[in-house]
Every structure is written in C-alpha cells, then in structure tokens.
C-alpha cells in the first residue's frame, strides 16, 4: 500500500484549511461565472473570461480536495467505484468533473447561450453542494437549520460579483453586490439564531470563542467595511469582500467541528 499523507494544517481528522480554501475558490469563481451568465450574457468576452477563472477555481479546488484525502492516490475511487447517489461527496465529485469540463469548453470554443446556461446549472450545483455536504453530517451547527445553502449561494454571489468588479467596475454590479451582501448578512444572523439551541458551543466559539477573530473579521472587514466602501472605492471594497468570503467559509467549516 502506497501512502502519501500530506499533513492537514488543521491536524487531526478535521475538515480544515484545505476544505475551506476549496469552498472559497469554487464558490467565488463559480459565483462570478453564474453572475456573468445571468446578467452579462450578451458580453461573450466576459462570459468566456469568467469561465476560465471558474475553471481554474474548480481545478485548483479539486486539487486541494485530493491532497486533503488520507489516500490521495486513490482519488479515482470517488468517481469509479460504484454508484452512490446518497453520498453528497460522490455527487459533488461528479459535479466538479462535469462543471470543470463544461467551463473549459465554454472558454475554448464559441458556444451558444443555451450551452453556457447549461454549464451554469452545473456550476450552481458545485457551489450549492458544498453546503449540502455539510448538512448531511451529524454536526448541529451545519444541519440544525436549512439555511447553509442560502448562505453559501448568497456569499458566492457577493464574492463572485466582487471578483468581476475588480476589472469591470460597473454600476449594475455594485447594486448586485450590495443586494446579495445584505441577503448574506441576514441569512448568517438567522442561521446563528436558529442553530444556537442545538449548536451552542459552535455559535459561542464564533461570537466570543477561539473563532471570534474569523467571525468578527468577516463581519467588520469582510462585510461591513465593503458595504460602506462600495460607493467610494470599489476596488478596495471588492478585495475586502473576497477576504470576507474566505473567512466566512473558514469559520463555517471550523464552527461545525467545535
């Protein structure tokens, strides 16, 4: 048996930094592609460029998932060892492969808008399944409320919009980012209140415990400040939003395992 076991920066058996980083990369770049198809379908240059970022995000993210495995060389077992539709991890692996192939196709070849929208459905599944993956576990912070998919999708829209803003500072994008950030904040607050009775230690770890730096860092630097700066300095607001999107994925992943 060949074992290559790369150390997980978080140690032990937790889903840690690699997973959070993957959620962030796939969520942000996937969100950018979804927004460009949904709102800028006529601008084929933007759609194809965001397809390239999303492809890179999905590919690098998938690489992170593989090195996080205990047996990385057996990663093909995920896809080729039978049919396991009850396992969100199995479905997600297929979504990743199909969305990655679709994104590469959209980037390389001129495609119809129908194809681009079909690939957008696959990308939405990649962005959304990560929340369902957490909900399938026995951890109350992840599954005591059904809001995690809302949080991840809203955050993907905010961060994806911010990514597009970095070289496409368009008025419509600003309104979009503000709207989805407000939804994201409301969903997060509701999720914390909803899960508090079942997952008190996790919620407290976020509010006043060892994860408070990530949580309040997100609230202040990655969410509040960008909202304030959105009309003043779009580039800075977008960068801070991206930092916030990573902090959000990180503290959600960690708080479930407190």
């Amino acid at each position: 048996m060949i074992t290559i076991n790369l150390p997980n920066p978080m140690g032990e058996e937790h889903w840690g930094l690699w997973i959070a980083l993957y959620f962030f990369l796939a969520g942000t770049t996937g969100g950018a592609y979804l927004l460009s198809v949904l709102f800028y379908g006529k601008d084929q240059g933007l759609v194809r460029r965001s397809a390239l970022w999303a492809f890179l995000g999905v590919a690098v993210g998938a690489g992170l998932l593989v090195i996080d495995l205990g047996q990385p060389l057996r990663f093909l077992n995920l896809l080729l060892n039978g049919f396991h539709p009850a396992s969100v991890m199995w479905l997600g692996s297929w979504f990743l492969v199909l969305a990655g192939a679709g994104l590469l196709w959209v980037y390389l070849k001129p495609t119809s808008r129908g194809v681009q929208q079909g690939v957008a459905v696959l990308v939405a599944l990649v962005v959304g399944y990560t929340a369902v993956l957490l909900m399938q576990t026995a951890k109350p912070f992840w599954n005591a409320s059904p809001l995690l998919p809302w949080l991840f999708l809203a955050s993907a829209a905010t961060a994806g919009g911010a990514l597009l803003q970095l070289w496409y500072p368009h008025e419509k994008l600003s309104r979009l980012v503000i709207a989805s950030a407000l939804v994201e904040g409301a969903v997060l607050a509701l999720h914390l209140i909803w899960t508090y009775p079942a997952a008190t230690p996790g919620v407290l770890a976020l509010l006043v415990g060892p994860l408070a730096w990530a949580f309040w860092g997100f609230v202040v630097v990655g969410w509040g400040l960008p909202l304030f700066l959105e009309r003043r300095n779009v580039a800075l607001a977008a960068l801070l939003t991206l930092v916030g999107a990573f902090l959000l994925r990180y503290f959600v992943v960690m708080a479930g395992q407190v």
């Binding site: 076991n5 495995l69 205990g70 057996r74 077992n77 399938q136 599954n143 059904p146 809203a154 419509k172």
Partner: protein, 258 residues
C-alpha cells in the same frame, strides 16, 4: 428494521459494573495500539473513541432528584445502524453493510475523505492519520463469521453484554425492561429500536437516553441531504430571480424615465 437473523449485541446498563474488560478485550483482539492519555477527573479513559479505541466506557455519577446517588456506565461504540449515516455518506462504497447487518470499512478502498467521521451521530468512526483511512468497531467480524462471539462480549464478567441474532437480542432486551420496571425502574427502556432504522447494538437503560448523552430522534443522512438539496434548489431559484428582479427592474425603470 434489522433482519431477525442479523447479528446483534445487547448492552444491559443495569448489569454493567464499569470494569472495562470489554474495552481491553477489544484492544487485544483487534491489535489496537495503546494511547497516551491523561486523568481528566473521570474514569472514562480515553475520553472518546479514536481510530485505535473502538470501545470506550463512559461514566455518569451524581445524585438523583430524590437524593439517591447513582453511578451509571455506557459502552460507547459503533451501533451498527440499519440506515447507517456513515454508509450513506461514503462516496466509494468502502463503508458498507456486510452479511448479518454489520457495518465495516474496507481499508483497501477507503480514500480517507472523512465523510463518515462527520456523519456518525455516535462519533464511532475515526481517521487514522498514519494509514490515511478510517477505522471503527467491526463487531469482531472475523470472530462472529466463524461462529464465535465478539471479544467484548466474551470478556464481560457480568453478562451485561450478550451476542445473538437480532430476534433473540431484541426479545431479551424487552423482557429485561419488563423485569426492571417491575423492580421499580419506571423509566427503564430499550435504546436503538427506532434510531436510524434500528441499530444492531441495543441498550437496556434505566434512565432516559439523554442522561447518557445518547442522541434521540437522529435524522438519517439521506433525509438530511434531501433537506439540503431542497433548500439549495429554493435558494438558487429565489436568489437568482430576486437579484435579477432587483438589479434589472431598476434599470428598466431608469430606461423608462429617460
């Protein structure tokens, strides 16, 4: 409901003396390495299950509302659920039911993704860092498939552990609860009949399961994932349509005003 001919173990908490013979026998038979532990002010040691500890006794002491002292013991281990969340969440089929309803992991197929670790409500599956795969109780499948008893059952000096077919074990558990109720244990109950499709390890308890940190009304992983998919679908539709409406309605109004 498990098949009546399935293998099953009965743990009778009213007969257990907390001697840990089962815990030691499990280590010996399965050749599990010792762990460095520390005194945490409880007899429970190690305090939780690990990749190298498949049975860990838990100790509960205190005073009942009427002033009587109690000192209760629970055998913490895999429950071998019929609708096992670890099996449902496994993307490779490595974690699966074997003949007789026993849940084991195939070490040569496992990729070490830790979905099962996160999914188990009994925290009975753990990741072995050194070997990159997960481990758990096998109900001593090597022994029982050769007509012997599991090592823990064989070692128990007080008949708190019994091994047999599910039909026998269930009848024994229900009879024992009837006797305990006659003797004044009004809250005596069998744990594991309703949980996760019926577990292949049944507990006879003298108090409510929550007294022993045993989860009641555990949702199956398939149902948790179904809730997640539904929520994700609604979220994607609502966010997509909502953002489109907010952003483009304003544009349309502006356009109309010009």
């Amino acid at each position: 409901m498990p098949n009546p001919k399935d293998y099953a173990i009965l743990f009778d908490a009213s007969r257990c003396i907390g001697c840990k013979a089962c815990q030691v026998a499990c280590k010996q038979w399965n050749d599990l390495e010792a762990e460095k532990t520390e005194n945490r002010g409880s007899y429970a040691n190690p305090p939780r299950l690990t990749a190298h500890t498949w049975i860990s006794m838990r100790y509960y002491e205190g005073l009942r509302p009427d002033g009587d002292p109690y000192f209760d013991f629970i055998r913490g281990s895999c429950m071998h659920c019929t609708h096992a969340p670890c099996v449902a969440s496994c993307p490779t089929g490595a974690m699966a039911h074997r003949e007789g309803g026993v849940v084991t992991v195939d070490e040569k197929t496992c990729i070490g993704c830790r979905s099962c670790v996160q999914a188990c409500p009994y925290e009975a599956v753990h990741f072995d860092e050194a070997r990159g795969v997960v481990h758990k109780c096998t109900m001593c499948y090597d022994r029982i498939s050769n007509g012997d008893q599991p090592a823990c059952v064989k070692a128990c000096p007080t008949d708190a552990l019994t091994f047999g077919t599910y039909q026998e074990i269930r009848a024994m558990a229900e009879e024992r609860v009837r006797v305990l109720k006659e003797r004044g244990y009004a809250r005596a109950n069998v744990y594991g009949l309703a949980e996760l499709g019926g577990t292949h390890v049944l507990y006879v308890l003298t108090e409510h399961p929550s007294q022993y940190d045993l989860p009641k009304a555990v949702r199956e992983a398939e149902k948790r994932a179904a809730t997640g998919w539904l929520s994700a679908g609604i979220a994607a539709a609502a966010l997509g349509a909502g953002l489109k409406f907010i952003v483009e309605r304003r544009e349309a109004l502006k356009g109309g005003g010009q």
